[in-house]
């Protein structure tokens, strides 16, 4: 049975609000994904509500997406909604020398000036993103990314969600263009877990990314022996998971 329309409220500005059973699923999914990360050994991180321009500058965000960031009203001055949760992590690790692999999970309201129609629930301008972020030796980061692809697929299946894991090339860092896209394709830097989400269509409910040393270089993050660190992340769009769950498996109550 489809959720009652009043449970999903989409405003023209690109924000979705869930009520009733839809809200129960939204909260449950975020909690379950956090628990999945904690059980895997990730430390919880509480990011600030907004992100200073300086961090996005340092991360090269405006080079890749000059018009995408959404300004935030903040007493601290020039700040934006985080385009992705993981930028907070690289900023926190600025200049650090890591004794070993670093694994954290965090969630925040993200903002992007996405090109969208008013009724497009699958492409929001404000959305909740939960991430698992891994920073450490490149081989460990790559293996951890692959583990998270498996974990996410298994979790989706466990709650009745069908999806397909597909390679993608629109990473959120670096310069645009065919060369970058082909390098990403060859190196398999990004996969997406795509799901059918009813009226929202096919959505990328999660992405699994390798950044190589891109962010580590920009934030001077190295291993204790001086070797370059690498980073990667698994990112989950909670609204998209909620829409997919409601569309694919009905509006029964979440498990208790």
């Amino acid at each position: 049975m489809a959720p009652d329309a009043v449970e999903i409220e989409l405003d023209p500005g690109g924000r979705i609000r869930f009520h009733g059973r839809a809200e129960e699923w939204f909260s449950w999914l975020d909690t379950q994904l956090e628990q999945l990360a904690l059980r895997a050994g990730a430390a919880p991180v509480s990011p600030p509500a907004v992100m200073p321009r300086a961090i996005l500058d340092q991360a090269g965000y405006f080079e890749a997406f000059p018009e995408m960031a959404i300004p935030a009203h903040d007493d601290e001055g020039d700040a934006f909604l985080a385009p992705a949760a993981c930028y907070h992590v690289y900023s926190t690790l600025q200049g650090r020398r890591l004794d070993g692999p670093y694994l954290v999970t965090l969630a925040t309201t993200c903002g992007r000036q996405e090109v969208r129609t008013e009724s497009d629930a699958g492409r929001l301008r404000r959305f909740r993103m939960r991430e698992v972020v891994f920073v450490g030796p490149a081989a460990w980061v790559a293996a951890t990314r692959d583990e998270w692809m498996a974990k996410a697929g298994a979790f989706a299946a466990s709650i009745g969600l069908a999806g397909t894991m597909e390679q993608a090339t629109d990473t959120f860092f670096g310069q645009p263009g065919r060369g970058r896209r082909l390098i990403q394709q060859i190196k398999q830097l990004k996969y997406e877990l795509r799901m059918e989400a009813g009226a929202a269509g096919q959505v990328a409910a999660a992405s699994f990314n390798l950044h190589e040393s891109f962010f580590a270089s920009r934030f001077d993050i190295r291993m204790a022996d001086g070797s370059p660190a690498a980073s990667g992340c698994a990112a989950f769009g909670i609204e998209r998971w909620t829409l997919a769950r409601l569309a694919q498996a009905g509006d029964g109550a979440p498990p208790t």
Binding site: G174, Q175, G177, R178, G179, R180, R181, L182, I183, Q185, I186, K187, Q188
Partner: protein, 85 residues
Amino acid sequence: MTALIDNLLEFVRHDLLHGRDVEVDADTSLFEQGMVDSLGILRLIAFLEIQIDRPIADAEVVMEHFRTIRTIDRRFGGENGNRGA
């Protein structure tokens, strides 16, 4: 050693690497330590297209085919009379 391997080795050593002091042979991984970057892959593809006399579709540009000069030769070396020189 095929003609395509010879030509690619020459191209990678002298054009992509600009004489940098990096050992490259037919089995060297092209995508470790930044040997081939986003501009380099476009130049490599352009060079290869000339060698095989046809355009290369994006879908063909995957690690299985581009990991090393030898894997490139395995995938594309039979085209346009490159094999067995």
